[in-house]
Symmetry: C2
Subunit: 337 residues, 2 copies
Amino acid sequence: MASGKGVLLKADPIAGTFQEEIKTGVSALPHKLKLVGILATSSAPSRYYADFTRKQCEALGIEFELKETGAAANPSLAEGEGVEQTIIESNEDDNVHGIMVYFPIFGVQQDHYLQQVVSPFKDVEGLHFKFHYNLYHNIRFLRPKTLLTTIGVPSSTEAPMDTESPPEGTVKSIIPCTPLAVVKCLEYTGIYNRLLPYGDRAYGKTITVINRSEVVGRPLAALLSNDGARVLSVDIGSIQEYTKRPKAADSAAQRYNPRHVVHNSQMTLEECLAVSDVVVSAVPSANYKVKTEWLKDGCVCINVAADKNFEKDVRDKASLYIPAVGKITIIMLLRNL
Amino acid sequence: MASGKGVLLKADPIAGTFQEEIKTGVSALPHKLKLVGILATSSAPSRYYADFTRKQCEALGIEFELKETGAAANPSLAEGEGVEQTIIESNEDDNVHGIMVYFPIFGVQQDHYLQQVVSPFKDVEGLHFKFHYNLYHNIRFLRPKTLLTTIGVPSSTEAPMDTESPPEGTVKSIIPCTPLAVVKCLEYTGIYNRLLPYGDRAYGKTITVINRSEVVGRPLAALLSNDGARVLSVDIGSIQEYTKRPKAADSAAQRYNPRHVVHNSQMTLEECLAVSDVVVSAVPSANYKVKTEWLKDGCVCINVAADKNFEKDVRDKASLYIPAVGKITIIMLLRNL
C-alpha cells in the first residue's frame, strides 16, 4: 500500500450487518423477548457492560432486566453473594428467555461452576459445557432435547455438518460469543472464503491465536481449525498446532465428526507470526504487546483483549486491524436469544 | 498433655476402617468391578498415584486397568494428547465401572472441562458438575436418572436429608473424594459427634479451611457447614464465613434444602485460627506454613496438601495432627465404584 498503513476496521459496520436481521426477527415474534443480566460485583467494567447490553437491547426491541445482587446491590454484601440463587430463579422463570451473567466474579474455577448452573436453554453466551463439548467435537447442530442430557455422545449420523442450515428437528448449537465474533470478523474481511464449502471456509489459512483459555482461546482455535485453518495456539507455557482431522484418516476416527487434532509445536512465537495470515490476541494484560516487526506483511490483526495487545504501529505491517470485537460479541449474544 | 505433644495420626487406621467393608461388598457382587485409570502426562506424582491405585485395587479385589495416552504413552506426544477420546471410550465401554483421570493435565480451566466429559455414572472422584451442585445445595440423595439431566432443580421433597440411609429409589450423591476424606477424619477423631442428628454432627465446631478451590476447599467448606459447623474459608484474597441456613430463616428459602450461606468475614487469619477447633490446610505450595503459635490449644490439624502446610512443632499446640489424607481419599474413591 502506498501509505504503508493498513486499514483500521471498527466493529460497528460488522455488527451492523446483523442488527437488521435481529430487529426483523424479534419484531416478527408473537411475544417480546426478555434478557436478564445478572450483576453481582462492584466491578466498573461489568456495570459498563451491563449498561451497554441494555442500550443494545433497547435498540433491537428486546426487553432487558438487570438483576443486581451481592456487592452490586449493596456495598456491605460480598462480591458475588446471592448470584447462584439469582441464576436459579431466572432459570425457573418462564418469562425469561436469556440469561447473561457478568463475569469475572469469583475467579475461573468457581465462575466455571456457575456457568454450568445457567440453563443451557437460556445460555446466550454459549458458556455451558454442552456447547463447548459440541464445539470441540465439531457438532454443529443438535436436537434441543439433547441439551437436557449430561452425557454427549458424538455421532456423525445425528449431527451432519456439511450443510449450513440445520436439518429438520435440529437447531444450531450455540457457539461461545467471543470466538463467534472473531469468526464473523474473518467472514467480513474475506479470510473465510464463501466460495469454499461450508465447514471448510478457512482452508489454506494459517492463524495464530494468542491465549488458550476455555472462554476464548481454546474454543476459538478449535472453531477455526474445524473450519479448515491451520491454527497455532500460543499460551504462556506452550505452543500447539490445531489442524482438522481428515475425514478418512483412520477407521477408528470414523464414528466421530471430522474435527481438529492437537499436537505440540516446536515453533517459536516469532516463527508462528512470520507465517500467519491472521493474528488474534486475547491476553488480559496491559503490558502484553505483539511485536509488529514479527508480523507477516499484509496480515489481518484482531485484538480481542480489553487491553491493546498490538503495538501502535501494527498497521505498518497489517493490511487490516480490528482493535475491538465487543460490539460484535454482544450482537452475537442477542442473536442467540 | 504432660509431654506437650499432640498425637500424630496416620491415615492407615482411618482408611482401614473402610477396607473390610469394601472387600466384603466387592466379593458379594456377581461380576468383578473394573476401574480404569487414565494417565496422560509425564508427571511423576501422577504415575506414582496410578501405581498406588493399582495396589489398592488389587488388595480389595477390584480390577484395575491403566490407560496411557499422550506424553505418558510416548514422550514425543504432547502432555494430555488423546485424553478426551480415551475418556469417551471408557464412558462407552460397559465393562468399565469407574474412571479416574490423573489431574492436573492442562491447567484448571481445561481440566474442569474434561471433568464434565467423564460420565457421572462412572465418576468415582465426584468431580462432575452434578455432584458439586448437589453438594452445594445439600442434596444428599438422588434418583439415578436425574444424573442424566443437565439442569438441577433443588427440591427438598425429592431429596430428604434428615436420614442417613437413602430413601427408596435414591442413592447417595457422590461427594468429591478429598473433602469426604476430611469428613471421615473428623468422624474418626470424634469432631463429628454421633450423638447429634445426621446432618448436624459438626454443630458447635468452628473449622478453618485454608484454600477455596473447586476441587477441595470450597466443597469442603460447604460440606462441613451443611453439617452444622461454622467454617472460616481462607483464600489468598479473602476470608469468608460459611454457616448453615436455618431451616425456617425465611419463607423464600423454604423451597431449598437448608444449606450453607456465605458471607464476607472481617476476621484475620490469626483471629480465625485462635477460635478454630479444627484447621484444614490444602495450599499447593512448599513454602506455605500455618503458624503454630496462632493455633488454639488442643485443636485438630489436618494437612491435605501434597506439601507440608504445618510447621514441624504443630503438635506443641494441636492435640491431634493428621499429616496426609491421600490413603483415605483413595479408599473413598473405590467405595464410590
